[in-house]
């Protein structure tokens, strides 16, 4: 199914585009290093217990094997409070697949073969990997313990308001475990020499990796270099270094300076580098006769690991989305013997807005109000909980523009009445929202080389989003020179400290840093600087932080077809209209939005890591079993945005676009599937059997 797709809008092409398509851009594993060795990990095949013995004799006899590392012979690391990085520090097993050793050999094949010959004995303990709402596993995370956690919210009297509401919805939505699976797997090359440790690593923040790995090995930060010029996708899974980085660096301590290389297999990526935890979310909405919300309740239960807490906070999506005088929002965790979850593209919002925006659609159907109109009627004037003004909020414009472009106004609201051949046809809408974040602490160096040519350095990582290009543009603009006159260097700890590539905050944080560094450079060196003039500076605190509620918004529209005989679901057409502050590079921004929406199609229809609680592992742990959308599953995906000028968010007026594209997509598709069939599925993904009649 193909349709007309708007041409890619103009904007500078990705600077490294040619290098990537011609294969000369080097990813972590591809850096040429002298005389490397290869690591193959040993992983626990039980979900809880202890390693009692490891027989390495047969493995050590394999030709080319140089080292077999186990919990019994690994050197002590400095405890830094991250259990994932404390590899081989005890014989305890906290989840199935946990790293419990490694074989290092002259070839990958020898390492893998020898790893099969290692005899591991365990003491098994009963494990619990069954995600459920039971008091024995569920607890309330301590919101004081982390700035990432928001406490429960209770405003007004939700129960009383629901009792008097003209229309109510009370529904429970579930979302499954999902795994990121970026195209480039996690990979690292570790080498120690007299100067310290060098890591060629695939990550979202080389400075962050350095800041964690250096203390882990008890060395000064200056003695750790992390080099990451190109990263082939991450989606949050490379936000924090995982155990494999520590394991590889640990192994490289024993190889007399020879580099050790390790790239995770696809199956290992289902165990070792995080995932989006499953959620069970109950949403209760109450509205008056006109469809105005009088009560909003959103309670979310999410899986975490007993081994390392992570909180997704899905219910927090309902804190500031719509007006509602009575509101209750709670987030709970179920702690299990499973690997640690982590951020995955729009953590919290992706799952939370799926539930809220599905419930809003159910409310629209119940109240007989058009779902676009229902959202417009619940537009708050100020942020509902904090009472702060919005720095800018153009959700209504997105909804109206999207409805116009999509042809929404001709829509017959009745579900299950349109049929074309064997296919039932429907359309759906959902809103998107994502906080506009700014990470402090980045620095950039601006240097005038000569003749009006500048070099700008910032230790950020371009994970494939186009950051290198956007930052070059912002630097050139601030310097008032053509983009060709700016050479931007990033992707390494050789450049000044930069924050993580996450939270859709890259361009906002690093762009502001680059622009402020240019201003500082001009203040110091003027408009006619000498060759070699150089300034390093960062962005100060945003004076408007805490004065405004800052979010980006969007409206997602989907057409869905469901096969009347087989239940197969297809999405021939999607449109997303976003309001996300200044769009620095329309070409690469278009690609970000579209990529997010495509991942949203995947979330809606396919992605599901099936956990077998008897073993505590993901059963479909490869890309044949874990489906993501293929080309044939993606029809026309149109993207556009509202011109939005936001003077409050940051010096460059950028809100971030990496994540909002996935937010709302699954709800729009689920709502359209209901419109097509009359069947309301509240359990992702929307697989064929759920529509079979």
């Amino acid at each position: 199914m193909t349709g007309a797709t708007r041409a890619t809008p103009p904007g500078p092409e990705r600077i490294e585009g040619r290098a990537k398509v011609t294969g000369t851009a080097r990813y972590a594993f591809e850096h040429p290093v002298a005389d490397p060795l290869y690591l193959h990990p040993l992983r626990a095949t039980i979900a809880r217990g202890r390693v009692t013995s490891v027989d390495t004799a047969a493995a050590e006899r394999v030709d080319g094997v140089r080292l077999v590392l186990t919990p019994h012979n690994a050197e002590a690391l400095v405890p830094i409070g991250d259990p994932e990085l404390a590899v081989l520090q005890s014989d305890e097993i906290a989840f199935r697949g946990q790293l419990i050793g490694a074989v290092v050999a002259e070839t990958q094949e020898a390492a893998a073969h020898a790893a099969d010959l290692v005899g591991i004995r365990y003491e098994r303990m009963a494990h619990d990997s069954d995600f459920r709402d039971d008091a024995d596993v569920v607890y309330t995370p301590d919101a004081d313990a982390s700035p990432m956690l928001s406490p429960d919210l209770e405003l007004g009297d939700v129960d009383a308001a629901l009792a008097e509401a003209a229309f109510t919805v009370d529904a429970t939505y579930t979302t499954p475990t999902e795994h990121h699976n970026p195209l480039e797997p996690h990979a690292v090359i570790a080498a120690w020499d007299d100067d310290g440790l060098t890591l060629h690593d695939s990550n979202q923040g080389s400075h962050l990796v350095r800041d964690l790995v250096a203390p882990l090995f008890g060395v000064d930060k200056e003695r750790v270099s992390v080099i990451s010029p190109h990263v082939g996708g991450a989606f949050g899974s490379k936000g924090m270094p995982h155990g494999h980085v520590a394991l590889t660096a640990l192994a490289a301590r024993h190889t007399a300076g020879r580099p050790v290389k390790y790239a995770l297999s696809r199956t290992q990526m289902f165990e070792l580098v995080g995932y989006r935890p499953p959620t069970r979310q109950r949403v209760r909405l109450g509205a008056d006769r006109e469809g105005r919300l009088v009560a909003t309740e959103h309670d979310s239960l999410e899986q975490t690991s007993r081994f390392k807490q992570y909180a997704e906070q899905s219910a927090s999506a309902s804190r500031e989305m719509y007006t509602s005088p009575n509101r209750r929002v709670t987030n709970r965790l179920a702690a299990l013997d499973v690997p640690a979850p982590t951020w995955m593209r729009a953590p919290g919002e992706a799952g939370g807005m799926y539930a809220l925006e599905s419930a809003m659609d159910e409310l629209a159907v119940r109240a007989g109000i058009d779902p676009v109109e229902l959202r417009l009627r619940n537009e708050p004037e100020v942020a509902p909980v904090s009472g702060l003004p919005f720095s800018s909020r153009n959700l209504p414009a997105c909804l109206r523009e999207g409805a116009e472009r999509f042809g929404w106004h001709e829509r017959d609201p009745r579900p299950g009445v349109r049929r074309e051949g064997d296919w039932l046809v429907g359309t759906g809408v959902a809103a998107s929202s994502f906080p506009s974040l700014f990470f402090p602490g980045s620095l950039a160096t601006v240097r005038h080389e000569s003749g009006g040519n500048y070099r700008v350095e910032i230790g950020a990582v371009d994970i494939g989003t186009g950051s290198r290009t956007a930052l070059t543009q912002l630097a050139a603009e601030a310097l008032e020179v053509p983009v060709e006159a700016v050479e931007l260097r990033l992707g390494s700890t050789e450049q000044p400290h930069a924050s993580l590539a996450g939270g859709s905050a890259g361009t906002a944080s690093w762009g502001s840093t680059v622009v402020e560094a240019v201003r500082a450079f001009r203040t110091e060196h003027g408009h006619d600087p000498v060759a070699g003039a150089e300034t390093t500076a960062g962005a100060g605190k945003n004076p408007d932080a805490g004065e405004y509620a800052m979010h980006s918004y969007g409206a997602q529209f989907a057409e869905v077809r469901v096969n009347a005989d087989t239940g197969e679901v297809r999405v021939p057409r999607m449109l997303g209209v976003f309001a996300a502050g200044r769009i620095v590079n329309p070409r690469t921004a278009h690609s970000q939005f579209r990529g997010g929406m495509t991942m949203g199609i995947s979330m809606a229809l396919h992605e599901h890591s099936v956990v077998d609680e008897r073993f505590g592992h993901v059963v479909n742990h490869d890309l044949a079993g874990y489906h993501i959308a293929g080309n044939a599953d993606v029809g026309s995906v149109e993207v556009d945005w509202i011109d939005e000028h936001d003077p409050h968010v940051n010096p460059v007026g950028v809100k971030g676009i990496g994540e909002i594209g996935i937010v709302g997509t699954a709800a729009a598709i689920g709502n359209a599937a209901h419109h097509a069939t009359g069947v309301r599925v509240r359990d992702l993904p929307l697989t064929p059997e759920k529509f079979l009649r």
């Binding site: 099969d116 239940g567 297809r570 077998d612 073993f615 959308a629 293929g630 044939a632 064929p688 059997e689």
Partner: protein, 330 residues
């Protein structure tokens, strides 16, 4: 992966002699399944005998109307073969619905027939599986069994056969030509694969060392009106949840002859003889189609996650028959 020897066969006799004398030797064709298994540790051959240079790479129309497909003909080439597209569209459609273009370019006819189940527990050496390790137990029986069998399974194994091509071949009454140390024999495709019973480790009736050399299609003139419909979780590159291969002969609104095979629901390509019995001689109506499907599925036994396969198979079979008989009428 265990180290192994590799040799390229130059003639069939010596290849058969090498493999039949060595219990650790395997033939290798396109390698699209076997190499995965070696990486996963499911199969650990000591020796691979590459048969892709043997002279089995042609599709021939025989004087009596049969078509002989060499065992090393690649899936993409077979799907593009004019005689297949014109006379046996069900087979071309089945081939093109399988795997990806890259895999079809490598996969051979013989290898496709002999590919093994995609049961996740079979493919994971850290979980029990009777097919991989007889007597260790079936993890799918009470585990994740959404893709598993509803017909012909046993307490020992509920795996399904993954091939699309083999389902079409079963509907076409194809025959498999096999050479072994004791000479040549012919096995109907419908009898090549086994039901699991007490020996789920045995996928087929072939003996170690026997080599598939060709597949023969009968003339079957009415097969030009045939269809393969594959229902799957995404639009491409996914194994069938259920599939239907059907060949129908129609005269004045009555089904005069019919061949049906089902995929994704059993340990082997499932020839739907009960459905065929109901359809043969019956009027081409919705009632007949559903009665045929119900007759075939009467013995279905479902597991925790695969109940949907019964209505999905029923609906899909009816849909394919509707389409094929509507084609005839227009």
């Amino acid at each position: 992966m265990k180290p192994f020897d590799y040799q390229r066969a130059t003639d069939a006799d010596s290849a058969i002699s090498v493999v039949s004398r060595d219990p650790e030797a395997h033939y290798i064709g396109g390698g699209t399944n076997l190499v995965d298994h070696m990486k996963l540790g499911i199969t650990e051959p000591g020796k691979l005998v590459d048969i892709t240079r043997l002279p089995y790479d042609r599709v021939e129309s025989l004087p009596d109307g049969r078509v002989r497909i060499g065992a090393t003909v690649r899936n993409s080439d077979l799907a593009a073969e004019p005689v297949i597209r014109q006379r046996y569209p069900v087979l071309a459609q089945a081939l093109l619905s399988g795997a990806s273009g890259q895999l079809r370019n490598l996969a051979t006819t013989g290898g496709n027939l002999l590919q093994r189940t995609r049961c996740s527990y079979f493919q994971d050496v850290t979980t029990p599986c009777n097919k991989r390790e007889p007597g260790s137990g079936c993890s799918a029986l009470e585990g994740w069994n959404r893709h598993h069998a509803v017909l012909g399974a046993s307490e020992r194994c509920v795996a399904t056969h993954p091939s699309d091509m083999a389902v079409a071949l079963a509907a076409l009454d194809a025959a498999v030509l096999v050479e072994g140390p004791d000479g040549q024999r012919t096995v109907p495709v419908t009898e090549l694969h086994r039901l699991p019973g007490d020996e789920p480790e045995r996928d087929t009736v072939l003996r170690h060392g026997e080599l598939v050399t060709a597949v023969e299609l009968p003339p079957l003139p009415f097969a030009s009106r045939s269809r393969y419909r594959k229902v799957r979780d995404r639009a491409s590159f996914a194994f069938a949840l259920v599939s239907v291969a059907a060949v129908v002969e129609l005269a004045e609104g009555t089904i005069t002859d019919v061949r049906i095979a089902l995929g994704g629901i059993a340990h082997k390509p499932w020839r739907a003889t009960e459905a065929e019995r109901v359809l043969r001689g019956a009027p081409a109506t919705e009632e007949t189609f559903l009665a045929a499907a119900d007759a075939e599925l009467a013995g279905a036994e479902t597991l925790r996650d695969n109940e949907f396969k019964v209505p999905m198979t029923r609906n899909t079979l009816a849909s394919v028959l509707r389409e094929l008989t509507r084609q005839e009428g227009s």
